[in-house]
Symmetry: C2
Subunit: 147 residues, 2 copies
Amino acid sequence: MNSTSVIDENDPKPDRTIFALLHAAHTLEAKVGDALAEVGLSMPKFAVLNELVTVGKPLALSELAGRLGCVKSNMTQLVDRMETDGLVRRVDDPADRRAVKAEITPEGVSKQAEGARQVDKLHEAFGAVVGAEDRAALGRMLAALDT
Amino acid sequence: MNSTSVIDENDPKPDRTIFALLHAAHTLEAKVGDALAEVGLSMPKFAVLNELVTVGKPLALSELAGRLGCVKSNMTQLVDRMETDGLVRRVDDPADRRAVKAEITPEGVSKQAEGARQVDKLHEAFGAVVGAEDRAALGRMLAALDT
DNA sequence: CAAGATTGAGAGTTCAATCTTC
DNA sequence: GAAGATTGAACTCTCAATCTTG
């Protein structure tokens, strides 16, 4: 049925593909951010809480920065704001006096659960709208991009 | 064969899909940012220059903010930094004394051309690694996401 | 009163430099 | 010296408030 016409088209502006993907990602990111904002969280704060809940024990700021893929100074300030919010607490590491660990508070545990519910709702909507075969294509692109 | 649950065909951790997409987008965004940094530009600055070159005449800051999908105060500060860089110049609009337009400088024109070359190189790599049918799937997802 | 632009405050991020501890 | 954390400066971005002009 197809007669080479679909892929052969050499659009005059091939610049658009990457930026279209980035734009869609920003739209999706805004949706996640809005969903988390409804329970008083931001994406970076939820990411930290999620990591702490998953691991089940306090983590050093360097460790958190490594897991979240950001620099250490970023984690310093993020944990500052989260401590102000009452989501985490800084605790000394008796084993290494250079290290400072972030310990999740009961408030943080509660907020993480609320955030996870919001994210689950988004995932249902995402799964309903995308479809399994397109998700497979997405997986291939992700793998190719992550090099 | 499934006796009780219909949903256990899904992966045990469906949480990851959206965040995997977002992570890949950030990786791609970093690549574009690095490529533009090689010629002394950031993505927001390149976006503004690109718009001004495409339109071919000065644009009001509100107009730029609308085209780039950000708030006006953002454009005020971005144009501040671009004026410091010598990429654009603020010019008064004789037709509307409230408005301020951004006019691209010769330096800005030159930088936009360099940036466009960098983006083209990235695009070749992207096209080589992704493939036409996956790009079609990407297009469907983008459309679904942009609602 | 609407619209265009700016300012101030703050979140999130990076980098370079610094301080303490290993 | 290298690692863990912090600080200060800068960029990008948002929101709320303000000022000028239409």
